[in-house]
Symmetry: C2
Subunit: 181 residues, 2 copies
Amino acid sequence: MRRTSEDTKAAILVAARERFASDGYERATIRAIASDAGIDPSMVMRYYGNKDGLFAAAADVDLRFPDLAAVPREEVGRTLVAHFLDRWEDDEGMMILLRTGVTNEGAAERMREIFAAQLGPLVARLSADPAQAALRAGLTATQVLGMALCRYVLRLPPVVAMSREEIVDWLGPTVQRYLAE
Amino acid sequence: MRRTSEDTKAAILVAARERFASDGYERATIRAIASDAGIDPSMVMRYYGNKDGLFAAAADVDLRFPDLAAVPREEVGRTLVAHFLDRWEDDEGMMILLRTGVTNEGAAERMREIFAAQLGPLVARLSADPAQAALRAGLTATQVLGMALCRYVLRLPPVVAMSREEIVDWLGPTVQRYLAE
DNA sequence: TGGCGATGTCAACAGCTGTTGGCCTACAGT
DNA sequence: ACTGTAGGCCAACAGCTGTTGACATCGCCA
């Protein structure tokens, strides 16, 4: 046989991630994804059931936060901002979630889960007052997601023009205050 | 005649703003909008030409920024955050732009124009160094749009739970630093 | 060699979309 | 009373969508 089913599943997933990331949920059509993957649309259904199943597989993201307890306390803000920028630039999953989470309630729920499961505990481990941990994680999310929104999605010119270092210098102190002050 | 054309045009616009705000561009259908307005879909075409024309009419927003030169310099951050929160809660236009700007390039362009035309000059008038004004406006946008995204669109629980005063207290100093320090 | 399961294609379905043109109807002006 | 016109409806179009089931082909195994 020309290809194993695993190869095809993987090719579909790659194409799906690209389409979902650049077009959002509604405009990313199964036909376009199948065409990108070089197969028939019906194969997508065979391997992923339906469009929602394909989306669920494509929108599985891991933020891979480092252990902030291992960095000096006064560096946690800058460290987190730098990590988030890196993560954003080499994982389409972030873009998928943001693009779709804004119009698709299922994706919004997924985003809430990810932040509750990945950012929440990280901040809690760092925080002296556990009652404030959720609030601090939420504040951090507003700044960090706002940067992603303006830079990678809306492409506001002055935000696109900033270098990685400038962003870390400006946002680092903000996140530092939200996290640990 | 039962209604004037102006009445009908206005009714269509109201329905369109609600649908665009809650569903985004793709999922807000002309049929649904017409049904909300209590008329036939073809009337929408008669009065607004096509879907893009209707969207352009619905996405016309005015941020109505106050003159920040009139408030004490150390209060500009808190003032702008408070104003933005108010503006967001009583104008669907903001939600329309955010929901659609994320998947629709035309709406993203509109959003860029609005920030360039409304937030940019405001910050420039405030800034000592004109060369930095665009950067500072961009930074402000990241924080303020990030808050709107997390609170009104993604509805992250800890961000939704915050009171207006808490948000002003936390985001005020951030925006103050971006604007004026 | 024969067959069987895996891999893949084709054509079609039912539903929805934006959009169009023709038709109706009720009122204002004469 | 007659007519013009503005406001509104209806039916249909062409295109796209997710999804389905029947059919084809290839290569392994008995």
